[in-house]
Symmetry: C2
Subunit: 453 residues, 2 copies
Amino acid sequence: MEPVDEADPWDRLLELAEAGDEAELGRFFSSLEPSEAVRAILRLEPDHQEMVLTGLNPSDAADLIEDLPDEQAADIIESMEPVDAAEIVMEMQSDEQADLIADLNDEDAEAILQEMKPEEADEARSLASYADNVAGGLMITEYFRFEESVSVGDAMDEIQTRSEELDEYFSRYAYVVSGWGRLVGVLEVRDLVLCPREKPIADIMAPSLFAKAQAPLDELKNFFENREFAAVPIVDTHGRLVGVVRSTSVQSALAKRSEQEMMRMYGIVGGDEIRNLPTLTRSRRRLSWLSVNIVLNIAAASVIALYIDTLGAVIALAVFLPIISDMSGCSGNQAVAVSMRELSLGIVKPFEVFRVWLKEISVGALNGIALGLILGFVAWAWKGNPYLGLVIGGALMVNTLVAVSIGGTVPLLLKRFGVDPAVASGPILTTVTDICGFFLVLSFATMLLPKLL
Amino acid sequence: MEPVDEADPWDRLLELAEAGDEAELGRFFSSLEPSEAVRAILRLEPDHQEMVLTGLNPSDAADLIEDLPDEQAADIIESMEPVDAAEIVMEMQSDEQADLIADLNDEDAEAILQEMKPEEADEARSLASYADNVAGGLMITEYFRFEESVSVGDAMDEIQTRSEELDEYFSRYAYVVSGWGRLVGVLEVRDLVLCPREKPIADIMAPSLFAKAQAPLDELKNFFENREFAAVPIVDTHGRLVGVVRSTSVQSALAKRSEQEMMRMYGIVGGDEIRNLPTLTRSRRRLSWLSVNIVLNIAAASVIALYIDTLGAVIALAVFLPIISDMSGCSGNQAVAVSMRELSLGIVKPFEVFRVWLKEISVGALNGIALGLILGFVAWAWKGNPYLGLVIGGALMVNTLVAVSIGGTVPLLLKRFGVDPAVASGPILTTVTDICGFFLVLSFATMLLPKLL
């Protein structure tokens, strides 16, 4: 069944890794396309990953590290000797370098910074101090900046020299600063060729838009959605130019954020998981989420224990409790998904809880009636008792309304109070709908007990 | 509680919409930033949305339509008169135009195409015939192409004229074709200024990489991951140049795909949902998913009905059935999320079911033991019966193993057989784990029945 051409490189890779030949392993990785190299290294055990990086030249190793998911990159770098790691880290682009250093534990980070050139280490420390999801955390420092008095000719000469030396330079725009380092203008690098060499660049620059280093990701998203710009310069609180954020960095930060959100919604919350991580780490991280859930589940199910007499009298109810619980979860999750989407599109604001609730209860009422009728008829048909149908169908009907109300509004409320809706919406939803669903079924049944026997 | 500056524009908008003044509404929208305009129009009822588009000039209306989620854009355009709609559609960029036409129902699409210029309609028809997620569906036709015999000077003159007239042109590269329209080379537009005007462009072009019109999105993703290109030319089966795909189009198609995947995983499967859609539409779409789930739930719960005597003898079991069901779902969903992520990173292939299973059972065994011990002790403590603890804890232990096995492998199997794992993994997981969990609890209890009484 296995296509030979896909399976073979993996076998070869594992052989090389087992053989422990770093140089050969490095050659093998150099021959791969970047996207294949990422896939290949993520398949290896941690020890073997380290061998690959040692086998590659530092510049290729830096490219590979930049392409890896953040946490994987940090794990591999942490496992290396600081002096080897520093060689690779120095070859990375400034924004990726800063992200990586921020992701390392403090001791490892300091050990690596000690091995770097002092000025590069200082720059990395300052970039790493910004949060991941603000402009400062997304900016690069490889861009062209000139004082306003510089001539077009001198600027062109410097651009030509520097682009040779550093191919990671962002070279579409050049930024113009005052003697104090304040951003005063911008020009398109390609326009330089059309201007007289002796003119000062201040004469040909245009005023520049900019963003603050503390600007959050969503502000940058709006900025680029509204303009066809390739990059925006970033200034500190004094208006001094400190870096450049490219629109491609914003797009990949957004993609990363939505991927992580999806993982958190599914209970991968203790940290990123890929299956080459050690079993104990994976187990511990998953349990951090499961252990909260089991407590909530026990709390919710204890409602059932309160009605143990009713349940003893009408055992058939026990068949329907898990159905009510699961279906309410399904209905509620749909509302959660729509709210998460509307929040991310910005078409609903966290304070509009009432508006969302109104929009949900109309759908919840219709779907509650439909689902309640289906399940009610099944219950009636099974036991031949219409009252059982009434209890079960009625409970599902009401609980669907509860579920969409909770599911629709909880993400907004959580966001408003600064809690991550991706992580907390699910457990809150299922706990509330379980408690409420069990209570509805069993209290309705208790009221109609004589008719159910 | 409501920040005044956020609430006010909405109030003003609703007032204008209610007043029905199209021109004023158009002016209001022209004053908004593009991202705000998207948010604003998605808040309006369908009738009012149409008024906004009629009030804007066709070019601004086209920009707004391009920024909307696909299905919303199609709904609004369908609701307009074909002649008004065609005016807007003709102002759209070719790839967005084709997507929109493909999303319209056939009659509306044809009515609008009839109102367009014949040659533009033909082009739109041909682009709309490609699937959304292949190169042909992502390409634009606004790019520069020249026959190889054209001179540098003539090429520059044409580029200068055309860029004035059409600001949506992709202007970084120009593509060179043979007399038969075959792609023969590429050049950077900015390099043209440095070349003698009389040279034929064939002398200065470089060979070009390309992709086929049928190339899937993932192939394009790999292409751009491995190269710092802004765009790739697209050829038909005869090697003729038919369009250009920009890397930004690929990035936004990927973002759209992962967002839609998240929605489908949460049961928004009958089509996109935003809360300004009519209640009946939203209800119907959500029910398409819920109705499948209720049938599966009833099937799973019918296992409980088989053991009604055991349950009657030990009512306490009924308290634990929903806990087992929910916790197994949680464990399984974590495995689903990791598999979905590994599939999207490409680090696991659909045929590697056995490898994933091995990686999952080790984690499942550890987590099953942890969760089983917790729940087992709770059961023991509650009823003071260690055998109840054994039954409940043992069942959760085994079922956690089952859940991670199903959750980890089902997305791969579904993908292998061409079924969308985002939609189908969840229902399959919960159905199998419910059946298995109920069976484990109740059959263990039946075996140990004398000890449980």
